[in-house]
């Protein structure tokens, strides 16, 4: 084209003039490729979560500094009193503190969903002809990466401090795998709250209200046998306690089939209930 359009001036925004040729060409070539599969759409949303970590690396603070603080604090606070030495206590505590930290990190999932919705990006996602849960599943796949980073940080710190798992590498990896699988299921509780609560703050508030009793009223720090009967009854049905027992047994090289099964079943039940509730809210929103 030899039309005298004054392009390429100093400021690019000044030079922009929409042209029928340029825009028309992209419009004409915008045909519909085949729809992506449910898995492919979810993975794409997972990629988005990775990009967000790349651009906003501060969010990794939650999965690094927080677990380090928890591990150091509780090892040295309770170690001497509860097990005679911090080294002894660490063998018992580390799998528990690992579970506690990662389960606590799951609440950021709800916060993330809530802020995403506030910003309007979800409006666009929800008008795409894709498998409906993929945006949330993808966000959770991204969170799984965060859980893995958090686990690595805690285990590395544990090894430095003297944690020596009897189950070896296999036991540790299986323990982490079980923990991450359970956390993925558990996160759907927070996506539900993220969808129906109004603000980021209320999501945080509710998460704390649920997470503190669930993680502290368990076998993370002490053997439940020293607790009063009513509290033992709670610990007995607390899925976090069963998760801790299962992870502990795997890392100690003495897998407890019953606890592992309990954990898998409770994870499945949580996923079925809260996944359904989340999707119902997501569709109605």
């Amino acid at each position: 084209m030899t039309t005298a359009t004054p392009e390429k001036e100093t400021a690019p925004s000044v030079a922009y003039v929409p042209t029928a040729e340029g825009l028309g060409a992209v419009l004409a070539s915008g045909e519909q490729p085949p729809r992506p599969s449910a898995w492919s759409a979810s993975v794409t949303f997972g990629w988005r979560a990775m990009l967000k970590i790349k651009h906003v690396p501060d969010q990794l603070f939650d999965v690094t500094a927080f677990p380090i603080m928890m591990t150091l604090m509780f090892t040295y606070l309770f170690g001497g009193a509860l097990a005679g030495s911090t080294g002894e206590y660490l063998q018992f505590l580390l799998p528990g503190i690992l579970v506690m930290s990662i389960v606590m990190i799951t609440m950021y999932t709800g916060v993330g969903v809530n802020t995403d919705i506030e910003k309007g990006v979800f409006d666009r996602f929800r008008t795409l002809p894709i498998w409906r849960p993929s945006a949330l599943v993808g966000a959770l796949l991204g969170d799984v990466c965060r859980y893995l980073i958090g686990s690595t940080v805690i285990l590395t710190l544990g090894l430095i401090l003297g944690f020596r798992p009897e189950g070896g590498l296999t036991g540790v990896l299986l323990g982490v795998a079980l923990l991450v699988a359970f956390s993925f299921a558990f996160s759907w509780i927070w996506t539900m709250f993220g969808l129906f609560l109004k603000s980021e703050k209320s999501v945080m508030g509710v998460s704390m209200l649920v997470l503190f009793p669930m993680t502290f009223l368990s076998n993370v720090f002490v053997n439940p046998e020293t607790m009063p009967g009513w509290l033992q009854a709670f610990v007995d049905v607390n899925p976090i306690a069963h998760l801790v027992a299962a992870v502990r047994s795997l890392m100690a090289g003495t897998p407890d089939g019953g606890e592992i099964l309990w954990t898998l079943i409770s994870g499945g039940v949580i996923l079925a209930i809260f996944g359904t509730l989340t999707m119902r809210l997501y569709n109605r929103k």
Binding site: P12, P18, L23, P33, H55, R124, R126, R284
Partner: protein, 332 residues
């Protein structure tokens, strides 16, 4: 109304949406012909965005029904999603990601493989003048660039129906003109556009039909011309040579036209409305009669123009509910 379903992009009847006690939309009927820009005009809180969100399958209506290209928006939501795109009032793109990343992300979600999505993103960035900003995070874009990337994201797959919810709110005049040009090109390529706006000028510039919405209801619809003529045929604007003759000119105009005459801030100017129902006479005929009378009265007219009524006048006339402010004005 014609019932050629194939020619309608949107057909809605009696759409209702209630949030708690607020009736955001209380029965909206729309018929949007395919291939046109349809303007939905109304003030803040009129229910425009709620109506668009229902039509774009983001909200489930509490009553009434609607189809988009013949597909029911509730029962066949997925088919509707395959045909529409939405550019929301608030940027519906991820501000933390770069321009390229946003477009590649959406391209992949629409089924492109990675190389295809990248190629498409590059083409779109080029066509929207954003190539240089491609690798910057969207949160660092100017308002006009944000709107452009947002519209670009909406046409990764060329939609049959594009919802633009207040696309120029908060933009400077240059960016606003760019958006208008983009909309014109998109429609010329065959996409139907449903545009909401609170700017009458914008609806007038772009839309071939307009529905005026107020308090959750359509209070008028038609072509911009029809809406204007429903208020009056227009107005005649006169500039005199001598400011001292203005009182006399005002008397002459009131006598000949029988309508209100407005004295402009400028001491030599005055504007007279021309009534639409005036015994079948056209606006031009009435205006020429007025000029003739002015000349006959010995008043020198330096300049004159015949204007159609602005949509502002139409809007104020239609939404004049100051008489009964008892209704829920409380709802924001």
């Amino acid at each position: 109304m014609s019932k050629h379903r194939g020619d309608l992009a949107i057909q809605a009847s009696g759409l209702i949406k209630t949030f708690g006690k607020t009736k955001a939309v209380r029965g909206i009927d729309l018929e949007v012909p395919a291939g046109t820009v349809y303007g939905v005009l109304g003030p803040n809180g009129a229910g425009k965005t709620t109506a668009v969100r229902m039509l774009a399958t983001l909200l489930r209506p509490d009553g009434g029904e609607a189809t988009v290209f013949g597909h029911d928006i509730v029962r066949e939501a997925d088919a509707v999603r395959g045909k529409v795109s939405l550019t929301g009032q608030y940027a519906s793109i991820d501000e933390d990601l770069t321009g390229t990343e946003n477009l590649v992300l959406l391209g992949r979600l629409l089924g492109h493989r990675k190389p295809g999505a990248r190629k498409r993103a590059a083409e779109l960035l080029e066509a929207f003048g954003l190539t240089e900003a491609a690798d910057r995070q969207v949160k660092n874009y100017s308002g006009g660039m944000r709107r452009r990337i947002d519209i670009a994201a909406s046409i990764i797959k060329t939609p049959e129906l594009l919802f633009l919810d207040e696309p120029t709110t908060g933009l400077d005049p240059r960016s606003r003109n760019q958006v208008w040009d983009i909309v014109r090109i998109i429609v010329a390529q065959g996409t139907t556009v449903l545009l909401t706006t609170q700017y009458l000028d914008e609806a007038d510039q772009l839309a071939s039909r307009i529905a005026v919405i107020d308090q959750g209801r359509v209070i008028a619809d038609g072509t911009p011309g029809e809406l204007k003529s429903s208020v009056g045929a227009g107005s005649v604007h006169v500039r005199l040579r001598d400011a001292a003759q203005r009182p006399e000119a005002e008397r002459v105009l009131v006598r000949t036209l029988g309508t209100d005459v407005t004295l402009e801030p400028e001491p030599v100017a005055l504007t007279a409305r021309i009534s639409g129902e005036e015994s079948g006479r056209g606006a031009a005929e009435q205006a020429s009669r007025a000029l003739h009378e002015l000349a006959a009265a010995g008043i020198t007219v330096d300049d004159f123009s015949l204007g159609q009524p602005s949509l502002d006048e139409v809007f104020l006339a239609l939404t004049d509910h100051t008489a009964n402010p008892t209704d829920e004005e409380v709802a924001a």
